[in-house]
Symmetry: C2
Subunit: 524 residues, 2 copies
């Protein structure tokens, strides 16, 4: 019945289109669902197209409508990018204040997504993430602010490093970073550094380069957490203190160009509170602009230095936090989960490295510990690296290669996560110094951190448990990356008001080393 | 000039009043500023005055107007209570839908507050409290839910206990507590227990008793944190599941009766999320009702079980939280300060006692530790007691006397707080495991908790410091309640990017016991 109705609608639409005078042959494009269709239209190049030409398109499938902004790409070329949210045919019509660009019609056919295309990442089960097709997204992030402002060779090296790395999300800045000292090869506005910018004209080449890199990240399964503003310009180029109207135009242009990339996340800022020229109302406003302009509702958050943004605001999809201490233990990390009822990502928890600054001198063991403690709290953590280098080649700043030894352990960590229940890891027994997360009566992942227990009495918190349930167990060495099955099975009986225990009172032997974990899985 | 103008206004007001036909002699009352004037008016007792008679009064001083709701107190008596927010004359006029109660005029003269009357407690310096006259309020709270639903003898005993105790805030419930088993002597509605209530009629005797107790708490310097709803009725009397209109009437009646008591705080609930009949929108609504009806803007918050209310809402003046683990270390406790930018009170952090339930078995040392850790985080903590008793005499439930040994240590703690800077204790160096709070370059209070250091190198975080500054120090044993001055003074020099240290590299000797603190004070 529903299919027949849709078919009828499609026929009706075709007929209607056939009777209209088309300005050109009806454009047809085929892409995957959540792929990217690009409609290129020639248009006026006189005057200032960035300021004077409006362009958008409405895409329709049955009752569903998606309105998408187009953008000027220089040299008389206009583009509209579309990420089909559903498979099937999408008919579109353009809208413009220029006749040449107005009323153009066409069709985008979205095929089923290919293997590896799971759609954009969404909030899942309140405090977790999943791709739109339901595949869990276990966030294991890293940060390299200016990696896409380097030489071609270095950027290729970074992509090669990332392709072999455990990270599935990368925080990266759109504006270049003056702290890095070297002059970036491209700038977002027409004009010349340091400050002779024509703020009414974007530099399309800058954005084409950025998009290529975002696309390449997507190809290797990495979400691009795009940082829209940051304070590391310090007025040198002035991108940290643009006039209000330029900031709005910039946000709209970025969203028009990039929102059709399914692996985009929007981060309003890095260390927003260090951008002293902007008020809290400005940040609210940027969020609202991005939310309004992005037809696909990509994830949105903002990253702090010392002042926290109000992540309870409805336009914040998930929590992105810098805190130097919060991921040191799971009972700290869980607290923000309680506050926000959204996914919590501790994007900056200090970095692995040997910098003289206190934020950049974690030992690799300390870096890895934070990911585990975060996971036991039902939250997510971010990595980066700050090892001194005579040539300033620091992953955090420019990418390149890793010097540290946390990445292989984080690959192991991610593998363990990916074997966990798709609902996400939920803390098992809050406020009781109980280092387990998982799914009651099904799956328990425990982590002892710096503790060096020699055994663990087989005792589980009561929720969902019944006498006679059976479990198997594995001892996990998170640093040495081993998983060792424990012999035999454990059958539980009620022990007290709060717990069930192995009926024979058995314990699991542990090696008395730090960084050990336990996995306990119910036997059906 | 200002005085002359006020005098002129007063004369004008007198003259105007003199020319109006007064229904009776102009009532005159004199009370202290922040005291309580009560205007009693006879009125109709027929029908249902609670439902049918509206009464309010407008108090005026110069350009300032305070609109106050009156209430029916039974037996044909109506009352209007007024807490003058400023000294001087306040002229009033009543408003009613009954002629007998309408247009009544009079004057309340507010004299300067007497010693010990500092006004209501307000938010101070963003994350702290002070009385309205600027005197710091160092919150050291306790909880006794149903102490005001006991026998006269027991309630007198509780008051005697409190008068000698360190606590300056008491959480107490307005509705009785069915968990306590014994039948309370009074109920808030007319009718009979368990459920034969006339929900259209309040029981004035119940409220007169409650007010007397709130007033007595005020007399001994204790703020009454009045819990407006709680889940411990479980439908027995049904006060946890009243119809929506009754809840609103109840809130208005309580606020009308009690808001003129300067020591009142409003707590929308204890463990709000256990009241399954109420939605989050209901709680928002209760807050808004209380905010609208209370002319004095007393402090407002709400207490949780496992779900957290959104304390960023503008009608929440301070954070009131139950968390079984957050006050165990200052680096946890500081996190909610960062989130909320409001005063943070950890009203329930588990209780001192020997209950079988995990929330009621803290050792006294653990109870006291939480107050200190909270203070070092720039936050505030609450106490209660749950020691088993053959007669059910538990402080948490009914009051009486203390069985525990934390109160003298909390008296000592409060004394130390009261000697701290009036701006409140602010964390000195966040995220660096630095257990000091205070005021940069002036006052440092450190606490080592369970740590047992044998010395402390004299090293201070850099903010505000300069070479040559001198300090004195005291070693504080928070459990044994001693303050021992350290011999000599310490002169600092810059040590590195982050710290200044004693120029001779000296340390302060510590006894290698837990629960030790340090106080370091700048010598001018």
């Amino acid at each position: 019945m529903r299919k027949l109705y849709l078919l009828a609608c499609a026929l009706a639409a075709s007929i209607a289109l056939a009777t209209l005078p088309a300005p050109a042959a009806l454009a047809q494009t085929t892409v995957e669902r959540w792929g990217r269709a690009e409609i290129a239209l020639p248009g006026p190049s006189s005057g200032n197209p960035f300021m004077e030409v409006d362009l958008s398109a409405t895409f329709r499938q049955g009752a569903q409508t998606v309105k998408v902004a187009g953008f000027y790409d220089g040299d008389g070329q206009y583009k509209i990018r579309f990420m089909p949210p559903e498979s099937g045919d999408w008919e579109y019509e353009t809208h413009s204040n220029r006749a040449q660009l107005n009323g153009r019609k066409g069709k985008v056919t979205a095929t089923a997504p290919s293997a590896g295309n799971h759609g954009p990442v969404r909030v899942h089960n309140t405090r977790h993430f999943a791709y739109e097709d339901g595949t869990p997204f276990w966030q294991v992030g890293t940060t390299s602010y200016a990696w896409a402002h380097q030489t071609e060779a270095l950027e290729q090296q970074t992509l090669k490093t990332l392709a072999a790395a455990p990270f599935n999300k990368l925080r990266m800045a759109i504006f270049p970073n003056h702290d890095d000292k070297n002059e970036p090869p491209r700038f977002p506005f027409a004009g010349h550094p340091p400050k002779a910018w024509d703020l009414t004209r974007f530099n399309p080449e800058f954005f084409r380069h950025l998009e290529r890199r975002v696309g390449q990240l997507g190809d290797i399964g990495i979400e691009a957490d795009l940082i829209l503003f940051h304070p590391y310009d310090k007025g040198y180029w002035g991108f940290d203190r643009l006039p209000a109207d330029v900031n709005q135009r910039y946000l709209r242009y970025v969203v028009a160009r990039l929102s059709a990339y399914r692996n985009v996340w929007w981060s309003m800022a890095n260390e927003f509170d260090f951008l002293k020229e902007k008020t809290m109302a400005d940040w609210d406003n940027y969020f609202q602009t991005v939310q309004r302009e992005d037809p696909y509702n990509h994830l949105r958050s903002i990253h702090n230095a010392f002042v926290f943004y109000n992540h309870t605001q409805p336009w914040v999809t998930h929590v992105s936090v810098q805190s130097g201490a919060i991921a040191e233990d799971f009972e700290r990390a869980v607290l923000f989960r309680d506050v926000y009822n959204k996914p919590v990502v501790y994007d900056e928890v200090k970095y692995e490295g040997n910098f003289s600054r206190r934020w950049g001198q974690l030992k690799p063991e300390e870096m890895v510990l934070r990911f585990w403690e975060g996971a036991i709290a039902g939250t997510y953590v971010g990595h980066s690296e700050s090892y001194e280098d005579p040539n300033g080649m620091v992953w955090l700043a420019k990418g390149g290669t890793f010097k540290g030894s946390s990445p292989p352990r984080l690959a192991f960590f991610r593998k363990i996560l990916s074997e966990s229940p798709p609902e996400g890891l939920e803390p098992i027994d809050k406020w009781q110094n109980h280092p387990f997360a998982g799914k009651h009566a099904q799956y328990y992942l425990g982590y002892f951190g710096l503790g060096t227990p020699k055994d663990w009495p087989f005792v589980l918190f009561k929720t969902g448990l019944q006498d006679g349930m059976k479990f198997r167990a594995e001892v996990i060495d998170t640093w040495n990356m081993t998983v060792t099955p424990v012999d035999g099975t454990f059958e539980i009986v009620k022990r007290d008001n709060y717990t069930f225990a192995d009926k024979n009172g058995r314990s699991i032997a542990l090696p008395g080393r730090p960084y050990m974990a336990l996995r306990i899985i119910r036997i059906p």
